[in-house]
Every structure is written in C-alpha cells, then in structure tokens.
C-alpha cells in the first residue's frame, strides 16, 4: 500500500504523538534574549537557512541510505552530532527522536531501517528518526525534507501563540511567507550526495548560545 502522501501529512501533523508540543525550536530562549515579535519571521528565515536546512538534509540522506543499508542511520547520526555542538540542542533533538523512535518501534518494528537504529550509540536525533520513519512509510526524499522544514517553522509559530500576543492568522501568514526559503531548503537538501561527511554544516551560533542559556533556567515552558 502506498502511504507516501499520507505519511507526509502525518509527519506534519501536530496530532502525531511524539511529544513535539513541548518544543519551541529555540523561540522561547530567543524571546528571553530580546527577540521582538516582529522579528519572528526573520528568526524563522534564519533557521531555514542554517540549522533547519542541515536537519532536513540529514533526514533526506537518512531516508536515501537506509533503503539499501538499514544501519546507515548510524553514520548520518555521527555527522549530524558533529553539526549540533551544544548538549541541550542534542538533548532536545534526541527527545523528539525518541518520540518518533517509540512510534516507529510500535508501528513498524520489523522494518529493517527501524531495526537498524538499534545500533545507535544513544537516542536518535530527530532528523535521523524522521528519515527512518519516512522509509517505513515509503516516502520520498523531497517529502521528508519538506516535512522536516515545515515542522521547524510550525514549532516556532505554535510556540509564538503561547509566548507572544500574536493573532493565529498572522502566525499562519509567517509560515506562508517562509515558502521561498523553505522550498529552497527542500531543493538544497536533495542535492546532498551519498557521503554523510558531505552534509551541509551551516551553524547558528546564537541559537546554540540560547539553548545553553535556556538549559540552566528554572522557569521555562518549552524543552528548547
């Protein structure tokens, strides 16, 4: 049965039970650090060109490689860890990855790529688990890359509704306004070659700094 299109919807759906509602993609600490509401679209754009692009590329590459080598997720995970320098960022990504992994084990426990994750050193990062789930759902690379980028943007917009005096319609407009950067990210993610060491390595030092600051706060609403 072809579940590629359904899978793309599923991965973009906040109702998928993976614990994602407790994340803000760095928006909460960014606001604490002084980001203003009118700059949230710029924050979204910055992520789409840096960390979100790296993650989408890793998800697409994981999907491509696990089709022929079910344990390839290990190599992509190593490369992605190297591109995610701070412990709080890794932890947040791993919590989401574990949510997806738990789902994958329950729904597609016998799928070679799902079994292949058993060899990982620690919990899968979100993009790795996303690529594996996409493989189990028979999705295309383009679909998982877009789902990954879309999820990043909507994590920010949904958190903004909790954290800022924002009209939900405006938050939806932010998503739509991000389309050029988002689609450019999809195209860039598809261009990665089969060698995980060649994954893009765009970083966003402020995002990492915010993650470190957030981690030590006692009053926070979102994981990261």
């Amino acid at each position: 049965m072809d579940t590629a299109d359904l899978g793309a919807l599923l991965l973009a759906d906040a109702r998928l039970p993976t614990g994602a509602h407790a994340h803000s993609a760095g928006l909460e600490p960014a606001l604490v650090a002084g980001l203003r509401a009118d700059r949230v679209p710029a924050y979204i754009d910055s992520r789409l060109r840096t960390v979100a692009l790296v993650e989408a590329s890793a998800a697409a590459l994981t999907l491509r490689l696990v089709r022929s080598d079910p344990s390839a997720s290990l190599r992509v995970q190593d490369e992605l860890l190297a591109r995610m320098p701070t412990a709080p960022s890794r932890r947040a990504s791993q919590l989401l990855g574990r949510g997806l992994h738990r789902l994958a084990v329950r729904l597609w426990g016998d799928h070679p790529a799902v079994r292949g994750m058993a060899g990982l050193d620690g919990p899968p990062l979100r993009p790795i688990a996303l690529g594996v789930v996409a493989a189990a759902l028979g999705m295309r690379e383009e679909q998982v890359a877009r789902a990954s980028l879309y999820d990043d943007v909507q994590t920010i917009t949904a958190a903004a509704l909790k954290l800022l005096p924002v009209d939900p319609t405006d938050a939806t407009a932010w998503l739509l306004a991000s389309a050029p950067a988002l689609e450019a990210g999809v195209a860039a993610a598809l261009l990665v070659d089969d060698d995980p060491t060649h994954l893009p390595a765009h970083t966003a030092p402020l995002v990492e700094q915010h993650a470190l600051d957030h981690h030590t706060r006692t009053r926070r609403i979102f994981v990261a």
Binding site: R15, P17, T18, G19, A20, H21, A22, H23, S24, L95, R98, G99, R102, A159, K162, T218, R219, R220, I221, F222, V223
Partner: protein, 241 residues
C-alpha cells in the same frame, strides 16, 4: 492489553492547581520509600517548581525526581500525547531498576484533566476544601471516576466555612461507590489510610489483579434505548459513532 504487572505501578496524581498534589506526593515518599523503591515525574507549567519542592523536601534522592516540560499544555502531556512522560518514566525505570512505584504528578490543570491509561495504571484526583465545598458536587471525570478522590486540607475547613462531611458525601454520591478520602497532612490517621490504599494498590498490581480504568473526559450519558446512564470507562454493549 500487555501484562504490566512485571513493571512498577505507575500512579498518577491529578487535580486543580494548589490543591496539594506535590505535598501529597512528598507524604507518599515519606511513608512508602522505606518499603518500596520509588521515583517521581513532575509536570509543571513552569517546568521544575514541583520537582524542586520535592527535591528540597529530602524525601527521595534528587536523581529519582524528574521534571517534564509540557509546553504550557499540561493537559496534553498526560492525555493526548503522553510521549514525554512515558520517556521520563522509562528512563527512571531503567536507571533505578527495579522500582516498585513511579508517581506522576500532573501540572495543576482544570477539572477535566485526567491521565490516559497509556501512561498510568491508576490515578488519584486531589481537591481541597479551600477550593470550595461545591467542587466535589460539580463533578467532572477526575472527581467522578479517578481510582481515589482526595478531599485535601481538611484542617482548613473551619477557616473557609466548608463542611468536610458534606463534601465527602457529595464526592461519594458523584462516584457511585468509588473511594473518597478526607486528608489532612497533620492527621496521622488520614495519612495512614492513604498509605494503606496505595500499598493495597501496589500489591494488587503485582498480583496482576489490577485493571486500569479510564476516567475519560466524557460525562456519563443516556441513549434512547437505555434506562441507566453509563460512562465509556465501563464495558457496555453498543458501539459509538
């Protein structure tokens, strides 16, 4: 349903904010941690306030108390998407294997928030007399169908003009025979009754005799062809669209 009697009992503690959930959990730790291996997961709206309270109470080693962030949705984290809580519970179960009891405290939420049976095996619902004597009568899924309803802070009753006996009677009437416990932290007798109830539950869970019940969010309702109201938590003979 999978056999869960081999793993620790997972006990949820729900109820509105300020009714004494954290203090009650500290009491459970004090009363039970000599006899049982325990761990606690807290769900705060502002992350780790409750976890810090419990850690500073010194009732359990601090590493056995984990705070889960709920993204300002404490209701979601115990009902619609329990993933974050399940991961925290599993981490504790793995780190401190073998545990006997994991207590999960909900973020103080409204009267409709109850735990999913996917997360807990049983749940307490905590009200307090200072929240108003009429809350037990107003009902709601937790008040009506949690495994145990606690009417807390009974020592405050004279100061807030609430008739504890009436509140217990109202609660019992709403619960159709399910237990209600009037509790004051300063009453050794009441604390002993709470202790007994939890010990009996742990033993029944271990013996494989405990079946988790879902308080559910839905109110009991009638159908045109029935004479008695029922809740979806009870077995019944018709499908729902």
């Amino acid at each position: 349903m999978p056999d869960t009697s081999q793993r620790p009992l997972r006990l949820g503690v729900a109820g509105p904010v300020g009714t004494g959930k954290s203090t009650l959990i500290a009491t459970l730790c004090r009363e039970l941690s000599a006899q049982y291996e325990m761990a606690v997961v807290t769900n705060d709206i502002y992350t780790d306030e409750d976890a810090r309270l419990l850690r500073s109470a010194g009732v359990l080693p601090v590493e056995r108390i984990t705070a889960v962030e709920t993204g300002a949705c404490p209701h979601t984290a115990i009902r619609d998407d329990v993933t974050a809580n399940l991961l925290a519970v599993e981490d504790l179960e793995q780190a401190f294997d073998p545990l006997d009891l994991v207590v999960i405290e909900s973020g103080g939420d409204n009267l409709t928030a109850t735990f999913s049976p996917a997360l807990v095996d049983a749940q307490l619902f905590v009200l307090d007399v200072a929240g108003g004597g009429d809350v037990a009568r107003k009902g709601g899924p937790g008040v009506e169908r949690a495994d145990l309803l606690i009417i807390n802070k009974t020592d405050l009753a004279p100061h807030v003009g609430v008739d504890v006996e009436q509140m217990v009677t109202d609660g019992s009437a709403a619960r159709g025979g399910l237990p209600v416990l009037a509790l004051s932290q300063s009453s050794p007798e009441a604390v002993a009754r709470l202790r007994e109830w939890v010990v009996a539950l742990i033993e029944s869970h271990r013996a494989g005799e405990h079946t988790p019940q879902d308080p559910g969010p839905m109110a009991p309702h009638f159908h045109a062809d029935a004479t008695e109201p029922h809740s979806h938590a009870e077995p019944h003979g018709h499908p729902h669209p």
